[in-house]
């Protein structure tokens, strides 16, 4: 497993020019607000197109400006947890989880429906959100939203998981619990993760590799 990206994109205030490669584990990207952290995630996921560069996940090139490769975001198989979680407000927790599964070609056949539901149950249990299945996002707490968003991103078995400040909206008490859960999850999951965080404590807790951004450039040596 490996992730590598070289990205150049002209932003309003500066040029984002960053290059990084890591074999596995968690890469934590830190930096001031507006330093280009979320832009990196958006470029890797395919939600934004860089001016030029290369993005490869597990040796699969998903973007290469020189070779005109730009795999659509839908086909990149990259999980993304947004800062505000972006849980669909018109769907219950269960339907939020099922949403990604229904797009998977392996579950599109009718006879696979039972299998899909079993897998969903497994995910609901793993993330301890089974009791919330019929609840809407506005009816659950911040920590529960965070777990649901993680479950929704992981349910499609992505090759890479992107987390955009997933702990920033949580209170201190919830953070402590969620940190431990995330550490457990990190052990269980066999996928590379890129985590954006403002908090040096989170970086110390989770980072296998670090990238510190300033005005679109890496200012600290890649560890």
């Amino acid at each position: 497993m490996s992730v590598s990206f070289t990205l150049k994109k002209q932003l309003d205030q500066f040029l984002l020019d960053v290059s990084c490669s890591f074999p596995d584990g968690v890469l934590v990207i830190q930096g001031e607000s507006g330093s280009g952290k979320s832009t990196i995630l958006n470029c890797i996921s395919g939600l934004l197109t860089p001016d030029n560069g290369i993005v490869a996940v597990n040796n699969r090139v998903v973007y290469n400006s020189n070779q005109s490769i730009n795999i659509p975001v839908q086909n990149r198989n990259i999980g993304y947890v947004f800062q505000n979680y972006a849980l669909f407000p018109n769907m219950t927790v269960e339907k939020n989880i099922l949403y990604g599964l229904k797009n998977q070609s392996e579950y599109k056949m009718k006879e696979k429906r039972e299998e899909m539901l079993q897998y969903m149950e497994y995910i609901l249990d793993t993330f301890r959100i089974g009791h919330l299945r019929k609840k809407y996002p506005y009816q659950i707490s911040g920590g529960e939203k965070q777990r649901t968003a993680l479950a929704r991103a992981i349910v499609t078995k992505p090759d890479l998981l992107l987390l955009d400040e997933p702990f920033s909206a949580l209170d201190l008490k919830t953070k402590k619990i969620v940190y431990q859960e995330f550490l457990d999850l990190k052990q269980q999951m066999q996928m590379p993760i890129i985590l954006i965080s403002h908090d040096p404590k989170e970086s110390d807790l989770f980072a296998d590799h670090r990238l510190y951004l300033e005005q679109g450039r890496a200012v600290e040596p890649f560890v």
Binding site: V73, F82, N90, N103
Partner: protein, 221 residues
């Protein structure tokens, strides 16, 4: 008296269906896609809302009249004269109600946090599925407002309808034109009755909409 009432309901219903489809489609395309000349298109769609109905009617007359761009083609190809028929009244009602539908749908689409659609994309959804499962359901309260307002505007349409459909009793006479005719001919009791019906009907529609929106959970449930 019931003829104009039924005709008005028929015209307003059909016009609202068209306004709904075109309003939602145009609002989605113009506000979610990169469309050249977006401002021009938006201005053209909104224009009937601020122009006097007689001006809108005049433009429609130029289009649908016997020698109009569309009217002459319809006569040449199908021998069908659209002017002074209830079809022309539907077109007039549709044109004047479209801006209300468009503006409400546009506001509803712009109100949706783009993160929902982005999240759906990363989960492998096509644009069509995202529209059907996320965008449209979340925009639904705004779209319902648009439908009700467009229907009220369509049922109350007078100026443009009079110019392109006339006021032919039993054929193109709608409630507003029937009220005008009743007042002109001194038939106060019929005018009173129609005015009362229109006012109560519009009041009930808007009141019910407001109640529904109040009760509805804006988080999308």
């Amino acid at each position: 008296m019931w003829g104009p009432v039924l005709l008005s309901l028929k015209i307003a219903s059909i016009a609202t269906i068209f306004s709904f489809f075109f309003g939602v489609l145009l609002a989605y395309i113009l506000n979610r896609k990169c469309v050249p000349g977006k401002n021009i298109w938006e201005t053209l769609i909104t224009l009937p809302m601020i122009l006097p109905p007689s001006v809108t009617g005049y433009f429609l007359l130029m289009l649908l009249g016997k020698r109009g761009v569309i009217g002459s083609v319809l006569i040449d190809l199908f021998g069908f004269k659209i002017i002074f028929t209830w079809y022309a009244a539907v077109i007039a009602a549709c044109i004047v109600s479209l801006p209300l539908m468009y503006q409400n749908a546009k506001a509803a689409f712009l109100n949706i946090d783009p993160a929902y659609e982005k999240a759906a994309k990363t989960l492998g959804s096509s644009e069509f599925r995202i529209f059907c499962t996320i965008t449209f359901p979340l925009a639904w309260p705004g779209i319902i407002s648009g439908i009700v307002l467009a229907f009220c505007r369509a049922i109350g349409e007078f100026g443009a309808t009079l110019m392109v459909a006339g006021n032919i009793p039993g054929k193109t006479q709608t409630m507003p034109t029937a009220i005008y005719y009743a007042v002109e001919t001194g038939n106060t009791s019929e005018a009173n009755m129609l005015v009362m019906m229109m006012t109560i009907f519009s009041f009930v529609l808007i009141f019910t909409l407001n109640k529904w929106l109040e009760k509805r959970n804006y988080l999308g449930k």
